[in-house]
């Protein structure tokens, strides 16, 4: 408790960006104190047994700015984010809590829209909002609406899925084009008048993930590619599993509108946040069959294999470019886009 001799080190915006600084904060501040077997796994959900039930438990706070963006809003985002975290843990999302921190002066109608949109997403996902909380802070001490959602899921099978189980030879599968959420938010925030409106991909992925798990028992790792995008989540899987990953630029789906906006604004779509993208490491024999099943689903029409796990390493992720060269996809130190979720 150094109050007299306090260091002047401060929290920077990049500490919240999901990149290297975020990880440092977790590793240097949170884990040494809070650390326990469950937390140390650093998966998106904690998994534990309560009496005779195996449960997943996850939490996320949402501070996206602006709170409304093409394709969604902070309410839909908050539900989908937590639903997806539970689903990628291999659990069936069931119960959700919603905590609002509202800035004084926020329009009641905006709040109502957000609530309606959260409810719609919860209904689509088939989860129940069972408990909640509301706090209000003075004008200038918040930013319209922040939402925390926590969620409980149950395991209906014996599979254990974790970021640390990816295996050499696995195929890397994604369900659709990358970078939509981040670019939807940033182009709206900056008021950029692109001809085509980019809609966020925010969606509840639990039904799609159900289909994936039903199609094979060879899924070794599943993650949603949110803050920091595909490159960040692949780095996390590679690090946790001790493997090297190679993805093939020619096979990575990115739509032209996102590609164009990224080029103009200087972003790399591989690092841009998604809110409807699932990444799976799946045994090579099972991958094609799983992709075919995914393609029949609402959020899986553009599913494809984009790369593979090439061997063991301390966590290297390589991009094979369209001209055949290789580039290391490193972890971001900060973030490209603050307040994207």
């Amino acid at each position: 408790m150094k109050t007299k001799n306090q260091s002047k080190e401060i929290i920077k915006l990049a500490h919240g960006g999901g990149g290297r600084l975020s990880q440092q904060l977790i590793e240097q501040v949170f884990l040494p104190v809070f650390g326990n077997e469950m937390l140390n796994r650093m998966d998106d959900s904690a998994v534990f047994n309560v009496l005779h039930s195996r449960l997943a438990f996850t939490t996320d706070s949402f501070v996206v700015h602006p709170i409304f963006f093409p394709g969604g809003d902070i309410g839909k985002l908050a539900i989908c984010g937590t639903v997806n975290d539970l689903a990628v843990a291999g659990a069936r999302p069931m119960y959700i809590s919603v905590g609002f921190i509202i800035e004084e002066g926020c329009f009641l109608d905006d709040l109502k829209r957000i609530v309606a949109s959260a409810k719609e997403a919860a209904d689509e996902a088939g989860v129940m909002i069972v408990t909640g909380d509301t706090k209000v802070v003075e004008k200038g001490h918040g930013d319209q609406v922040f939402i925390n959602t926590s969620g409980i899921g149950v395991f209906e099978h014996e599979r254990i899925v974790s970021g640390s189980n990816a295996k050499e030879g696995d195929c890397i599968v994604v369900n659709g084009p990358l970078g939509r959420h981040g670019m939807a938010v940033i182009t709206t925030r900056e008021g950029l008048g692109f001809q085509t409106r980019i809609d966020s991909d925010v969606a509840p992925l639990n039904h799609l993930i159900d289909v994936m798990f039903s199609s094979t028992d060879q899924i070794h790792a599943v993650r949603d590619a949110t803050r920091g995008g595909l490159a960040t989540v692949l780095n996390e899987i590679a690090g946790q599993s001790g493997v090297s990953i190679e993805i093939d630029e020619a096979k990575i789906p990115v739509t032209d509108d996102v590609k164009g906006a990224c080029e103009i604004l200087g972003f790399d779509p591989l690092y841009v946040a998604n809110e409807g993208i699932v990444v799976a490491c799946v045994g090579a024999d099972a991958a094609d069959n799983m992709v075919q099943s995914m393609k029949k689903e609402k959020y899986g029409a553009r599913s494809s294999v984009i790369g593979r796990i090439t061997g063991s390493s301390d966590g290297e992720v390589l991009l094979r470019t369209e001209i055949g060269s290789h580039r290391i996809l490193d972890q971001l130190s900060g973030e490209q886009l603050p307040r994207i979720c």
Copy 2:
């Protein structure tokens, strides 16, 4: 989705205060949309069965200002608040999530103190922090640190405790002096130089509540008296159970320092927030025995019976004053103290 014809109604600070405006917000905005059997009960925790286990699930966001106050800080508060919500539901608190929303520029050392204090409270309560999240917002769009904690508890017995089960004839029991938390925060915030420092009562009450449940099976309602104080929680119990409550001013424990500060600042200690006070409605035959058991506990030394449930009504709470007259303890419309938790 009235975007073109949006009403100008806005959220006020008092909508977050735990009083009548908070309740209106919940009843007019959240319940009509999110409403379901569990949420509509409006208890602090949702209770449901997962496979063969009965669980309690609760969430709270903490925006207390200042983040450090005599007797505690936002970290300790966030853990105790969620532990207590689970415990008053009759569940054993087990797993906690912690989500931080940090304002850019917050001192890293402050964050470390908060984390250490949260851990200490979790250890005392015997709960495990199993999952977490960190977001950072720009300077001026937050206020140092906001914390959300959600928690899961398990039921180890078949009792059903709810705010709606209080019965005529029950004694009202509290475990100690009222108003400490609110006055600790407000005197610190305003920099008031009272001679005696008032320490917050913030504490994990789960062990005390264990003792209460072990001493009798006649506990019909248990609540912690947080935002809005004892008067508000008694109004909630009276309303939910359809009973009238009478408490006896002469028997209500308030320490001299709190009494003095309240008099100077114009507060009523019955409406001031506590973070270590449990209120129980317990069968008259069992009350004395339960109070004796409570008095042996760390947070129960000053436990006493302060009133009783006098009959059925639409939720009237009366205070019998020290001179023998009666005063209605109504629900607050706003709040006495913003950002107290």
